[in-house]
Symmetry: C2
């Protein structure tokens, strides 16, 4: 049933005529994200202020219309898509102002729709640093990163998005505006609402503004590529580095398949006869310290059985290494028409075992699984390569995903380290967390969104 034109008029009075989209072409733009899922909204609303967003929510509550919050739509769990069809997508891309950079307190206040890399660039001009670095950084927003508690390679040393949330402005399900937190770094006055709304995937409120903690910009970095004939040795090296009290900014793992893909696409001269490579980066304020750390990490790798340790000698070499790491995803496109990237996390020590199980799944189904990810925190991205045009391959992929999650859970791991649950992991949500946890979460959802208008159908099975 199409939305009444009276409703459209009322929305337009709130956000302006150009803030309401409803042509099929426009709606199509907001019907997908970084996954294979799709769903057409009935209207897209683009508020320019928190107050406008609040009025939209009040209207939706009155009319019992579902709201799907959205940033740049780069999500990898279908959290920002109206998968059931219908409802209003509330897209925050017009709320993209940086409101304040407070150098005295190392904090930035920004609207939800600011693109994360824009925020980073802006604070770096002031000698400050916003560490979270999801691979979507150039096409995802601060609000979306908070809603999903986005991570990234640097999160080993610096922590995930949630570790930087000092305060939020949130539109609640009844249209009231909630302000949480503030500039004080330590705050135990009441429940931790910052943490509750972070990673709630738009199901408890619409995040319109954030106050984020910053740190000093690291002045130097050193990067090493380390090759291991045995993946178990690479995993051992990761533990040994951390046990020695070295906390690199990143400890990235690439398995043999990932390295082969990069080499095939980029011809960087990477040897493809190793089971695993690590990209290790240390960073900080002091060149000598950063250098000593990368040397120490390299020594530990050698002691753990690395075949070679190459520390980038200049910026050009360093950026070549990162180019290799960043090219994994695009290079997979040369191997197969489609890929599905997962986001499991396991206890660090279980990495060798989970990689073995992933390989077994791959050979059982006859589809390649490329493995890379953030070894330091046990967060791996197994990517299944396939051809979606072949229904039998898609059917296999769906079963493989289930087995990947089962493997992670069996080893004490979980479904998602940085992407979220959204729609795609709903079927596994209760298996991962248990019925008591899911029921507690449902009660919180019910308490804060009794009409179930905020991103319904996400996280929880209906």
């Amino acid at each position: 049933m199409p939305m009444e034109s009276r409703m459209i008029d009322r929305l337009a009075r709130i956000v302006g005529k150009d803030g309401v989209l409803r042509t099929p072409e426009d709606l199509a733009v907001y019907s997908y994200d970084g996954t294979f899922a799709e769903g057409l909204p009935e209207a897209v609303v683009l508020p320019r202020t928190t107050e406008q967003a609040a009025e939209v929510v009040k209207l939706a509550a009155e009319a019992r219309i579902a709201l799907v919050p959205r940033g740049m739509g780069s999500g990898l769990a279908a959290g920002s898509i109206p998968v059931a069809g219908g409802g209003i997508v509330v897209c925050f891309t017009r709320m993209n102002r940086i409101l304040e950079i407070d150098t005295g307190n190392s904090a930035v206040r920004a609207e939800a729709g600011v693109v994360t890399s824009d925020l980073q660039a802006e604070v770096e001009k002031h000698g400050l640093f916003y560490p979270p670095d999801p691979s979507s950084i150039r096409h995802s927003t601060v609000g979306g990163n908070i809603a999903c508690n986005a991570g990234g390679p640097r999160c080993l040393k610096y922590g995930v998005t949630g570790n930087y949330v000092l305060g939020l402005t949130v539109v609640l399900a009844d249209g009231r505006i909630l302000k949480t937190g503030g500039k004080p770094i330590k705050d135990v006055t009441g429940y931790n609402l910052n943490a509750l709304f972070t990673s709630s995937e738009g199901t408890l409120g619409l995040i319109t503004e954030a106050l984020l903690r910053l740190v000093a910009r690291p002045r130097c970095a050193q990067t090493a590529l380390v090759e291991f004939v045995s993946l178990a040795h690479a995993s051992h090296a990761v533990n040994a580095i951390l046990a020695a009290g070295i906390v690199p900014a990143t400890l990235e793992l690439m398995d043999q398949t990932a390295i082969a893909c990069i080499e095939e696409a980029m011809h960087l001269g990477l040897p493809t006869d190793v089971e695993a490579s690590l990209i290790i980066e240390t960073d900080g304020a002091d060149e000598q310290t950063v250098g000593r750390e990368i040397q120490a990490a390299g020594r530990i790798c050698t002691e753990s059985g690395a075949r070679s340790v190459k520390v980038a000698q200049d910026e050009a070499e360093r950026s070549r290494l990162w180019k290799a790491r960043r090219s994994i995803s695009p290079s997979l496109a040369r191997k197969a028409p489609n890929k599905l990237g997962e986001d499991i996390t396991v206890p660090r020590s279980a990495i060798p075992e989970v990689v073995q199980r992933l390989r077994a799944i791959s050979s059982r189904y006859g589809l390649p699984i490329v493995i890379f990810g953030h070894a330091g925190d046990g967060n791996l991205h197994p990517n299944i390569l396939f051809d979606r045009r072949k229904p039998e391959e898609w059917a296999k992929v769906e079963r493989m995903v289930g087995e990947i999650f089962a493997a992670a859970l069996a080893l004490g791991g979980t479904l998602s380290g940085e992407h979220g649950v959204g729609v795609l992991k709903r079927p596994y949500f209760e298996r991962a967390l248990g019925p008591v946890s899911v029921e507690v979460q449902r009660r919180i959802k019910q308490a804060l969104d009794p009409l179930n208008i905020l991103n319904p159908g996400k996280m929880f099975q209906d």
Copy 2:
């Protein structure tokens, strides 16, 4: 009305006869904490397992009896006292086993009643480190620390208790057992229940067990005492150190009154003509790096106007500095019969202004306020010195506390950095957070504890 003996029998069947206390002498032991508040429970129950705690909660839910969770009773906000009188104190001191130390994943699993310093000592034997260091560390428990999200000096570099919670075992208000989190370091599968129960002060569930993240034990530390004629210069130095990318383990501030108290009690030769001193400590894996950092921090202090920078030359000198810092609280006892220590947090840059306002409050009421605390994160402990036997002084203290909170809030600060709200800060709770935030928190409380049997009367005004 005394508790029915049938109820006592049923409790004894769950926890054993020696696990139920009800003589006036026994009850008195559980009627106070680190504050001036008092309240007698009708019974004290000491479970030895999560399952026993769960059975106690079921019984209490059935009989609508209030439960007050308690560790070692060192709290500074009266959170673990049955202030309204009556109910059952559930004390976790018999659940004091360390269940697992996982060196491969740098994690420890422990029961709620383990004393924090015992846990620290145990993990350090394995080269691991549990950083949170509340001053109550030797007489507070892991469970209490989590319930209040305890901090401490080292939290500047290492983060507060909540940053180390990987997973919790919680008995819910209906006696069901909830397990949250797990060993994976990154986990965005569902709402952040770890963070919700941390700092919930026993109002949402009883924490019986925790899985805590550990880091590598720092191998060396350097400590400096820096004297500033001007407190504004000290505050500037704090910001400049952090802006330079140096993150000391601690950046502790003591004002002139605090220094004078220490000197009077300890005769350490501290000059009392400075407005402020900082104790700066750097730590880490590598002696040279740690040394370079303390030197750099010292240089920045000098540039910011420090009168003197003394780096401890050996372990004896280092421990003398810490002895001075730790002796502040006890030394206050020599100055006045009583003290009331607060726990405000302000944005770092507001420290000079808040200190000025605290001094104005002190002189207006004619009672000394000694100021010390964690300057790096803006968390200050203003201690009012007074004589409780004089009713007019106590009346002043109550008004002064209100003004201290008002000063913090006016500067963008908050009521508590590490102690919690408990009973004592209830009157200021809504003023600090606003009615929408409090209502959201009440809804969460209502959703998870509909009978209001878990630590009723804490945080929220009835």
